[in-house]
């Protein structure tokens, strides 16, 4: 779990969505905090699919699964099983 979370944070930082020194709480909204927009989310999805060799069904593209670190981590854990 922690590993996945760190990977996502590293990705967000590397792709300049996020300042290097800003901290993000697990349940903070990525969209409302301006960390990511619609195009950024698509790129993040591509990254996740490739990195974890998973496919994300379209009905899972919801705020619950994508708008926070915790949501994304839970979703990956569920799909990677």
């Amino acid at each position: 779990m922690e590993q996945i979370k760190n990977d996502i944070v590293d990705y967000l930082k590397a792709n300049s969505f996020m300042d290097n020194n800003s901290s993000l709480k697990d349940n903070d909204s990525l969209t409302q905090n301006g960390i990511i927009d619609s195009i950024g989310l698509l790129e993040l999805m591509d990254y996740i699919c490739e990195k974890y060799s998973i496919e994300i069904p379209e009905d899972m593209l919801t705020p619950e699964n994508f708008d926070s670190l915790q949501g994304i981590t839970n979703m990956i854990t569920k799909l990677a099983k």
Binding site: Q32, G34, D37, L41, E58, D59, M60, L61, D67
Partner: protein, 492 residues
């Protein structure tokens, strides 16, 4: 007539009709009118003063905007999706003493941020006006000024476009005609309402007595649900359509009940049109063109001509005259490149507190759009890039868009972008960023350039990229291309 006055009129004529929808809630014209009055009541003792609005997209934003109109003050919506320093840059340029913020934005931006304002009013869906500070100052503003929309501008300095009631109403009426909007239509607003395009969606549907469904594009699932909820007109920038088209099955299903897919904010390309046609043949595609300086819209491409003329902006909307002027401010003949100019009731009053920029932009009543254009023999207009996109390469003035087009048309590539780069002898040379297609070969591209372009245009290097170099507001310009190039180089 002021835009909010149309709402009052419909509140009397069709009080129960739905005006706005968001998520699971909706509001009738009569309730919307009451809420606007409630918010406006705390603004009534200000006399034509500037009010910044810091609010996320939603019903509350529309209510606040209309309340500023109703109290006869001036609205300055802030683009909340921009980073904080950009917003501060806008605030410094706007000389604004008063702000209305939603409780969400207030906690996001923090108490300190609001110290610079004399008046701070916090709004939430349950409380229409908690006044934190109040200090009424006398302001001297253009008497017709009602709304200021900020454009980041290709140079990066924010410019405040001043619009009047007449501008807003005139452009709304023109858009209603082009899209045949009636009180039965429901428009989808998924783009930012703080800019010209989003603002025009709200205005035109409310002036027509119809409704607007407000959402966003953040989550594909909710975006498709919104489109499928009896929306009759969907509005998007080209990238909105590119995103949605990544899910062809959902696209087909959601758009099957939509009448018109309208676009603005950038040119629709052949690929998008082809994909939409393949999925939903009955859907009317209506590309539009405009500028904030023209309130929103200037031209549209009639739906029946989309397949043949998608590389043009079509013709002027009603109430607007478009022409192409040469460097002597005279109309250019067809197929001769000049600058696109426009006149009509939708042309802005000028730039806020910037008479010099205004004088350069509006000359003898004509708005100089800064877009290079040609008139086609049938009267349609083709754009050829921004005037200020012209770059000097080895002391020759060149249009990078023309070079890109010539390479794209003669080679196996998907997209080509010209990047001006420093050159020891010429001052500036070019590099190419290329989105490859199957069969793209760097050697062949070099060979073509060497053979077909003047020596000074032979690229120093050719880099492959896998996505469009879009700016933060989804547009391609020299600036966004250069930024992408720097990004690519830095990661090499």
């Amino acid at each position: 007539m002021r835009i909010d006055a149309y709402i009052t009129e419909y509140a009397k004529k069709t009080p129960q009709s739905i005006s706005l929808e968001e998520g699971k809630s909706s509001i009738s014209y009569s309730c919307l009118d009451d809420d606007i009055n409630a918010i406006a009541s705390s603004l009534m003792d200000f006399n034509h003063c500037r009010f910044a609005i810091l609010a996320e997209s939603g019903m509350l934003y529309v209510k606040v905007l209309m309340a500023v109109y109703r109290s006869a003050n001036i609205a300055i919506p802030l683009p909340i999706e921009f980073p904080k320093f950009s917003i501060e840059k806008i605030l410094n340029a706007a000389h604004v003493n008063n702000i209305i913020a939603t409780d969400t934005q207030y906690s996001k931006f923090g108490e300190d941020f609001f110290e610079r304002f004399g008046t701070v009013i916090i709004i939430s869906s349950s409380d229409f006006g908690k006044i934190l500070h109040k200090k009424i100052e006398t302001e001297k503003n253009n008497p017709e000024l009602r709304l200021v929309l900020y454009t980041s501008g290709t140079t990066g300095t924010p410019k405040g476009v001043m619009l009047s009631d007449r501008n807003l109403a005139a452009n709304a009426e023109s858009i209603i005609k082009v899209l045949r909007i009636t009180s039965r239509d429901k428009g989808a607003l998924v783009i930012s309402p703080h800019h010209a395009f989003g603002n025009s969606i709200i205005n035109s549907h409310l002036v027509a007595g119809g409704s607007v469904r407000i959402g966003n594009m953040n989550f594909i699932d909710s975006a498709f649900n919104l489109i499928g909820s009896d929306v009759s007109i969907f509005y998007g920038v080209p990238s909105t359509y590119r995103i949605l088209l990544r899910y062809p099955d959902r696209f087909k299903k959601a758009f099957s009940s939509v009448r018109t897919a309208a676009s603005a904010g950038g040119g629709m390309d052949q690929a998008i049109v082809k994909d939409i046609r393949g999925l939903v043949p009955s859907l009317e595609i209506l590309p539009m063109y405009g500028q904030t300086e023209a309130t929103a819209r200037l031209a549209y491409l009639p739906a029946e001509d989309v397949d043949e003329f998608v590389d043009t902006i079509g013709k002027a909307i009603s109430g607007v005259i478009l022409d192409v002027f040469d460097s002597e401010y005279k109309p250019a003949k067809p197929n001769i490149t000049g600058e696109l100019v426009a006149t009509g009731d939708n042309i802005m009053l000028g730039y806020l507190d910037d008479e010099i920029a205004t004088e350069k932009k509006i000359i003898n009543g004509w708005l100089y759009t800064g877009d290079l254009a040609q008139k086609l023999p049938n009267g349609y207009i083709r754009l050829l890039g921004r005037k200020d996109d012209l770059i000097k390469i080895g002391d020759h003035r060149v249009n990078p868009r023309e070079i890109e087009r010539s390479i794209e048309e003669n080679n196996e590539v998907s997209k080509v972008f010209v990047v001006p780069v420093h050159h020891e002898l010429m001052g500036t040379a070019i590099s190419l960023m290329v989105m490859p297609a199957t069969g793209t070969e760097i050697e062949k591209l070099f060979a073509f350039c060497r053979k077909s372009l003047p020596g000074y245009l032979c690229p120093r290097e050719i880099l492959f990229i896998d996505h469009l170099p879009l700016s933060e507001n989804g547009k391609i310009s020299n600036r966004s291309i250069i930024e992408e190039y720097q990004h690519v180089k830095a990661s090499m």
